[in-house]
Symmetry: C2
Subunit: 410 residues, 2 copies
């Protein structure tokens, strides 16, 4: 049996050989840390997944180029909150490259091409480079293994709390640790926020294997809270492996164990992001079964999970299954409405059946409303077309969402 051990207060510095620092660089916020630096004592293999948005931010363009050129010698990641360095044109790209140079110079003995960048915040404003430089220099002087939580705090924007975690797993070659931090909130569902994630590990993993494992883990986690391709300007997940544990992830057994632990960690981080969605008061798992393919299931689950009408019904504790079916019907997936069945539940997704053969059962409205009144519940839609299924996590859409987003920049 696979055993993943969760570390209390775990973070990106839980794996051996990683240090971090968080400083108030005053990029946007006056009174809180807004810049994090994560450094590995040894070269890391690295993998990244990036936004599909046509309007990709400068750090995304730079990171992609770096990883394509050499993904075996990464040493540091700089993350700033308050400014996305997106829609900033050529000066924005220059500023991103300058950030790499400043970091390399501050850390000494590393090259600019060994530094990856993450930014989140306002679009269309150039980075304040003097503040960035002062911040990075200060951070480089205060690196410590104790600063993992501080780093998770520094990358927050509208997040209400930091998101971090670490997991340990026993491999044939020894114990490895995987640490992670993320920020989301903002535009997660239905528009998606800038979602940033940094995952570190002291396992020794070849870059190609690392890349494959990251893709698999993300498909089971972060991609279940977002619409494929419907990403913001800055979305990025980075994974660094420095091998400091001495334990390799190279054979079938170690890859399976590590893959599982990585997916567990990413799922936890993804769910933390959903739970902290702007104005969210409810956490809902939307399961779609009986689809011809997982792609079909995902399309339907996503359409339900992002429907403002469905999400406002969640907010109102109204078990308005008609909106759920109507959303499913417009997902671009053909199915026979007379085969549709819908269940809801608090602990299991099939405690109360609301729809059978496309029409309502004789359930009691009060019973259904009681489920939707819970802070966490599950829905399951079977479209009766096949055997594929998926789960997507979402939240309700509340007045607070509108308040937060109608007033974001001021």
């Amino acid at each position: 049996m696979i055993k993943n051990k969760f570390l209390k207060e775990g973070s990106v510095t839980s794996p051996a050989g990683f240090r971090a620092a968080a400083v108030a660089a005053h990029i946007k916020y006056a009174d809180r840390p807004d810049l994090a630096l994560i450094v590995s004592s040894a070269d890391c293999t690295a993998a990244g997944m990036f936004t599909q948005n046509q309007v990709a931010a400068a750090p995304v363009l730079v990171d992609k180029a770096i990883l394509q050129a050499d993904n075996k010698h990464i040493r540091a990641i700089v993350v700033n909150a308050g400014n996305a360095n997106a829609s900033t044109g050529a000066p924005g790209l220059d500023n991103a490259r300058a950030t790499q140079k400043i970091t390399a110079a501050s850390l000494m003995n590393i090259q600019p091409e060994q530094v990856l960048l993450l930014s989140t915040g306002v679009i269309g404003v150039q980075l304040p480079m003097a503040r960035m430089q002062a911040g990075i220099e200060a951070a480089a002087a205060h690196l410590a293994a104790e600063n993992g939580l501080a780093a998770a705090q520094a990358i927050m924007t509208t997040d209400t709390h930091p998101k971090h975690l670490a997991v340990q797993v026993e491999l044939p070659g020894g114990t490895v640790t995987i640490g992670g931090m993320a920020k989301g909130s903002g535009m997660i569902h239905p528009d998606m926020a800038t979602m940033l994630g940094v995952v570190t590990t002291d396992a020794a993993v070849e870059a190609a294997v690392l890349d494959r494992m990251l893709r698999t883990a993300v498909s089971r986690s972060f991609n279940r809270i977002s619409i494929d391709g419907d990403t913001s300007t800055n979305d990025t997940i980075l994974l660094l492996a420095n091998g400091a544990s001495g334990a390799p992830v190279s054979d079938g057994a170690s890859i399976a164990l590590f893959q599982n632990a990585l997916a567990v960690l990413c799922t936890e981080l993804a769910q933390m992001i959903v739970r902290d969605g702007e104005g969210a008061t409810k956490f809902v798992a939307v399961q779609v079964t009986g689809a011809k393919s997982e792609t079909d299931a995902h399309a339907i689950a996503n359409t339900i999970a992002t429907s403002p009408l469905v999400k406002t019904a969640f907010a109102g504790s109204d078990a308005n299954w008609g909106r759920i079916l109507a959303a499913a019907g417009r997902a671009g997936v053909a199915f026979d409405q007379n085969q549709a069945a819908l269940w809801i539940g608090v602990d299991a997704p099939d405690e109360l059946q609301l729809v059978a053969n496309g029409a309502p059962t004789n359930y009691q409205e009060a019973e259904a409303a009681a489920v939707f009144a819970q802070p966490e519940f599950k829905i399951r839609l079977n479209i009766g077309a096949g055997r594929a299924s998926t789960i997507v996590w979402t939240t309700d859409l509340t007045h607070d969402y509108v308040s937060i987003n109608a007033d974001y920049r001021s």
Copy 2:
């Protein structure tokens, strides 16, 4: 020069030979008319456009079958509010067919297959047939040309006012009148409400020509407020032509004139729907230019127009162009962000340029905010990829939208 004459207080009974009645059938609402009957004194050619939703309502299924079998002898349309007759299975279909029979019997000398149906309201509840019967019989006894406005009122759900209009146009063969009514609100943008529209005319038009003209008019009007394919369970637009004016629409000149007038009428109705969107306080025209194809332009304009983040920025009078570009970037259309340009304006869409070559101009924030503070404004995004363009109309997303939809069924 084409001249369309708008009729004050025009409606579906403005064209010769159409009568209507509105009655309180108590289908859902206790104290207001909720059933409308529209009857032509002569057989009509007819065309319809229907939801693409897999979960199509019983009246949609029935109407499609009717028009496929014989679209030259339609005499009546029954519209009810308060109950969508959707997700009602076989009994729902039986009730729809029974509604046709009741109507035919009440009107005498017509057959059930000459009756079309429209329903809007709650999903998953069977129609109260005794009330439907009493309502239809009462309506049949009170048909009058004066009741066009009453009919427009009877089909409202969360609409705050009735939507109706008539236009006259001089054709070579004489003057013809086109009348229309619609209801929307509810889920219009981003999920789309049940949008119902009835258009009547006393022009003499062959069914095939009528069908083509309806499709063209809808593509320039109702489809600009909705996402193609992203439709509710009941969306329907019906067009009846009874020929009572004696003026034919058959040659190139008359078709061009009639097509224009029909598009104008449909555009007015569609804009009325947007302006009355749930909780909407602002009316925004989103123009996308410089696209490779109209399909591309439409995809981008729709993604912008339905983005909750963009719409909450409208609500907050925040000229947050970064959200507009980010929405455009995730529309599934490839373009070079460094070619993107964005303008906004109150009277014209290009009064103030916010973005050039993908980066902000040195506009004054206060000037941009002043535009977004208006109840009506325009934005224009040029993606620099080609010559195609489109316009989509949308609204802001306010607290009231959440309030209305979190409490719709109770």
